[in-house]
């Protein structure tokens, strides 16, 4: 079968030149496009974060005007969420899911091409607002009405259409992933033998289909309020700004799980590989993921404890939020139990995965603190919230993406990356992330509000520390980029299995993975209980 795949490559290699990338329907090409796009957006959004941290290095206004500062916080959030994290996971899904389930390609290859190529245009439009009269959107990534309607800059219309386009792209990507997993599994790959990355992505894709249209709906309502005289969110016309927050967070809370469930899948591959043990509690991992997805739909109002909810509402959302800690705790337990008595080695992907387990759990704990409604009145809209969601997103989602990149890079390119540089990248990132975000817990508890360009003097020291950490973290990503480029250009060749403890169909293919793989599906019906 392997020789067959290699022989095929000679006849059906990719066409040369730029049009290969524009016209491609190959899942590996599209995965690469998504990942490169995501990396570019990560660096763009990162530069904006550094503008923010540079301004906050000292109290007072030094570098930028408050108006521009607000545009930076808004664009940083939007770009990182919709441009960096989400496309990175879609890219990884494109590359790996067909190989993991033994499919020749994604189920709907042409739609796949379309769903990627919408994205550069959406983000070109969004970034273009920075150069428009009145400036870019400045109302925060959560774009609460009436800030984003009555008081918005004129560029808000471009922002709305950019969100529409990203939404369409994500929905098409999600449909493709569901169709691939449900229809194209190799014979004998039952649902409970599905690799966990595929499982977590399947559930994520259903979340995307459920909530991205709601996001499209809420921006459409904004569009109608701004241009067509409706009053969905305008109190003067009988609308209600609080309705905006309800609809936004009905999308927004599942969205945060969209950004973390695929990460759970990745970590569930990497830890068993480098602990050289099978994953502990595979079925409980699947059920925990499904429970988290279900719970994500009934907890949204914990983002809005301070809007004036009745006591019964506060209690319901407080307890349902705390319930999420149970399935999440099951997952963390399973990862730790997988490592227990394993023969662990600490290559770069494993280091990132271990940091994920520890630091994501810290983010989870601060989430539990925020879930306590009575104390949330103190934490709401402070840097404590910023610390919380950066802990779950940076050493959570982003670290898992970096771990996945190092883990699968030898499979993609056929070469090992530079392990020495990879370790440097890890340790600088690990230290940088903690120096940046840990002090934010303290300044948040002490009362420093989010989204301000200037602050009271008592917050000065911790802010300076955070800014130093941010530059350390930001600059160390250049090592990551350099390491990837060097690895693509050449290096120590990898065999098909790449890692000693790696299990799964993708490791039966040669490295680099041939352009067309599994044109005849592998038959798993003979094999036993391995998943």
């Amino acid at each position: 079968m392997l020789t067959q795949a290699v022989a095929h490559e000679h006849h059906h290699g990719p066409p040369p030149g730029l049009m290969r990338w524009v016209l491609t329907t190959n899942h590996k090409d599209i995965g690469t496009l998504y990942l490169v796009f995501s990396l570019v957006m990560f660096l763009t959004g990162g530069c904006m974060a550094l503008v923010i941290r540079a301004e906050l290095f000292q109290p007072g206004l030094q570098l930028v005007q408050p108006e521009f500062f607000n545009q930076m916080t808004t664009m940083h959030g939007l770009i990182m969420v919709f441009g960096a994290v989400m496309p990175a996971f879609v890219g990884l899904a494109n590359w790996m899911i067909p190989m993991m389930v033994g499919a020749p390609d994604m189920a709907l290859p042409r739609m796949n091409n379309w769903s990627f190529w919408i994205l550069p245009f959406a983000f070109a439009m969004m970034l273009a607002t920075l150069f428009m009269e009145g400036g870019a959107p400045n109302f925060g990534w959560t774009f609460y009405a009436p800030l984003s309607t009555t008081y918005a800059p004129p560029s808000v219309t471009f922002f709305i259409f950019a969100v529409h386009m990203m939404g369409i792209s994500s929905i098409m990507g999600a449909i493709n992933i569901i169709a691939t997993i449900l229809n194209l599994r190799a014979p004998g790959m039952t649902m409970m033998k599905l690799p966990l990355f595929a499982w977590t992505w399947l559930i994520t894709a259903f979340l995307l289909i459920a909530v991205m249209p709601v996001l499209a709906g809420v921006v459409t309502m904004m569009l109608m309020d701004i241009h067509f005289g409706t009053s969905f969110f305008n109190a003067a016309g009988g609308g209600d700004p609080v309705l905006f927050q309800h609809i936004f967070w009905f999308f927004g809370h599942p969205e945060v799980y969209i950004m973390i469930l695929p990460a759970f899948g990745i970590i569930s591959h990497i830890i068993p590989t480098f602990a050289r043990k099978r994953l502990f509690g595979y079925p409980s991992m699947v059920y925990a993921t499904a429970s988290i997805a279900f719970l994500s739909f009934i907890v949204w109002a914990h983002h809005m404890f301070t809007v004036g909810m009745p006591l019964a509402g506060e209690l319901f959302f407080m307890f349902s939020t705390m319930l999420i800690a149970v399935p999440t705790g099951v997952k963390v337990f399973n990862w730790v139990a997988t490592m227990y008595r394993g023969s662990m080695t600490f290559e770069t992907p494993m280091l990132f995965a271990l940091a994920f387990v520890v630091l994501f759990t810290i983010g989870g704990f601060s989430g539990l603190m925020l879930a306590i409604a009575p104390v949330d009145f103190q934490y709401h809209d402070t840097y404590f919230v910023v610390a919380h969601f950066h802990y779950v997103l940076v050493p959570g989602a982003i670290f898992s993406i970096m771990a996945a990149t190092y883990y699968w890079l030898p499979k993609w390119t056929g070469n090992y990356y530079n392990e020495y540089l990879g370790k440097w990248h890890f340790w600088l990132s690990f230290v940088g992330v903690n120096i940046t975000f840990f002090p934010m817990h303290f300044i948040g508890l002490a009362g420093m509000p989010r989204r301000i360009p200037d602050y009271a003097l008592q917050f000065a020291d911790f802010n300076m520390v955070a800014s130093i950490g941010a530059f350390l973290f930001g600059l160390s990503q250049l090592l990551f980029v350099y390491n990837i480029i060097q690895c693509v250009r050449g290096g120590y060749g990898a065999d098909s299995r790449v890692w000693e403890g790696a299990e799964g169909l993708e490791w039966t293919l040669p490295s680099p993975a041939p352009y067309h793989s599994f044109t005849t599906p592998p038959d798993l019906r003979e094999q036993g209980g391995e998943h």
């Binding site: 709906g217 309502m221 005289g229 409706t230 009053s231 969905f232 003067a236 009988g238 009745p310």
Partner: protein, 193 residues
């Protein structure tokens, strides 16, 4: 090919689900109103119009009613209640006036958006008549007294001793001029008090 057909059918079903969820997003808007009306948690009075059933006046009990007037940002009108606080017996109908004055030289249209605190009391307040039911137009430099007739239901829970009625006045002159020929906004989004 059957595999292609299966993929296409699944993709269409999922796309349909996405379209339905888009509709659901819009449906959340009226659902929100219905939910607030049923549970009464938004401090909005839903009982309006004449009292149809005979209500026994509870002369033994007094409820304090506080009145608040707020101008929304940029609204230049003078706007206040004639009295800030009064005591009423549950079951009796009380007439109260708010006073509005338009200090500008041009005709303006305003709408008052009401709210009741505590929210629990909202479902026991009946507004027989209220200036907030419709938009108020005032010529330049004109003043007017605007009536409010309300009745507190004797069923009001005993622990509620004070009810606060708040009105926020919005300038909707621009909306009225811009949409004179257009029909009223969709009824689902209108507050029903």
């Amino acid at each position: 090919m059957s595999a292609t057909t299966a993929n296409r059918r699944l993709a269409l079903r999922l796309a349909l689900a996405a379209v339905l969820m888009f509709g659901f997003g819009f449906l959340l808007s009226p659902l929100y109103d219905v939910f607030c009306r049923v549970t009464g948690i938004n401090g909005k009075v839903t009982r309006t119009g004449a009292v149809t059933e005979a209500v026994q006046v509870d002369a033994a009990r007094q409820v304090r009613v506080q009145l608040i007037a707020v101008n929304n940002e940029g609204m230049p009108w003078g706007f206040r209640p004639e009295q800030h606080q009064l005591s009423v017996h549950p079951g009796e109908q009380t007439l109260i006036h708010y006073v509005a004055h338009n200090p500008t030289a041009v005709e303006m249209v305003a709408r008052a958006v009401p709210s009741v605190a505590p929210a629990e009391a909202a479902s026991y307040v009946q507004k027989v008549n209220c200036f907030c039911f419709e938009a108020q137009t005032l010529a330049g430099s004109a003043s007017q007294r605007m009536p409010l007739v309300l009745m507190i239901d004797p069923q009001l829970p005993a622990h509620i001793e004070t009810i606060t009625l708040s009105y926020t006045l919005f300038d909707i002159t621009a909306d009225q001029v811009g949409h004179q020929s257009a029909p009223q906004q969709p009824s689902a989004r209108r507050v029903s008090l």
